[in-house]
């Protein structure tokens, strides 16, 4: 089980702020997790399309596609940040 968090435009598009998910065995990193989420439907495909400016964090550290995802991790997806 992992915790998934969505922020800003992604939270609104998915209509989802957080969820607990049971991952299939072949989801081992941010890249394969993104691929798995894309299979949920057209809005997921669109927002998480390759080349879209989406960022991910694993356990509150900025991550890239190769960052491992393990059981009990907190994984967040969000647009590029715009604070300050």
């Amino acid at each position: 089980m992992i915790t998934l968090l969505y922020f800003a435009r992604l939270r609104e598009s998915f209509g989802l702020a957080s969820e607990q998910a049971e991952l299939p065995a072949d989801v081992t990193d941010v890249g394969s997790l993104t691929e798995w989420l894309r299979q949920r439907g057209s809005i997921w495909q669109e927002e998480l399309a390759p080349g879209k400016p989406v960022r991910a964090a694993v356990n509150q550290d900025m991550a890239d596609l190769d960052t491992p995802v393990r059981d009990k991790d907190e994984v967040a997806f969000f647009p590029p940040v715009t604070g300050g």
């Binding site: 968090l5 922020f7 800003a8 435009r9 400016p53 964090a57 509150q60 550290d61 900025m62 967040a76 969000f78 647009p79 590029p80 940040v81 715009t82 604070g83 300050g84």
Partner: protein
């Protein structure tokens, strides 16, 4: 070293006084205040909402300040970033750095702002007469952050 994420406004004068207290070696204090402007890309903004990632935001800000302290001889540093609804002319962010000498205070203050803009998880949603929209990240902010990677300071 202090990092605050809060809905409340802040008082730069009071914050600088607190930061100075008890340290007679400070020769230079650089500070920055970011404000909500009423114009963003030619559409009047009536309100904006700042969303953040609780937990990660504070962690990211602490890491940015720690990196600044590794790069320059800082005596102290403070970051306050507001969240929630904000209106034009409201204060958004305060960064204060203190050092013995001015160049280190200036460089660290600008570095913290540049890194905060590209690495701290905040997102702005603007309300205009034509509706609400999420603010896009700017290429120029990424460029500003990148130059600290090339340069040592």
């Amino acid at each position: 070293m202090t990092v605050h994420v809060q809905t409340e406004d802040f008082d730069i004068g009071a914050e600088i006084l607190k930061l100075r207290q008890g340290n007679t070696g400070i020769g230079a204090i650089a500070s920055f205040v970011g404000l909500v402007r009423d114009l963003n890309k030619d559409t009047a903004v009536t309100e904006m909402v700042l969303e953040h990632y609780p937990g990660m935001t504070e962690k990211a800000l602490i890491e940015i300040v720690e990196e600044a302290k590794r790069r320059w001889n800082l005596i102290n540093a403070l970051v306050i970033h507001r969240i929630g609804p904000l209106r034009p002319t409201d204060q958004i962010v305060l960064v204060v750095t203190s050092s013995a000498h001015r160049h280190e205070a200036f460089a660290a203050c600008e570095f913290i702002m540049d890194y905060l803009k590209t690495r701290a998880p905040f997102w702005k949603k603007e309300q205009t007469a034509e509706g609400a929209h999420w603010v896009d990240a700017r290429e120029s902010d990424e460029t500003a952050a990148q130059r600290w990677i090339a340069a040592s300071n």
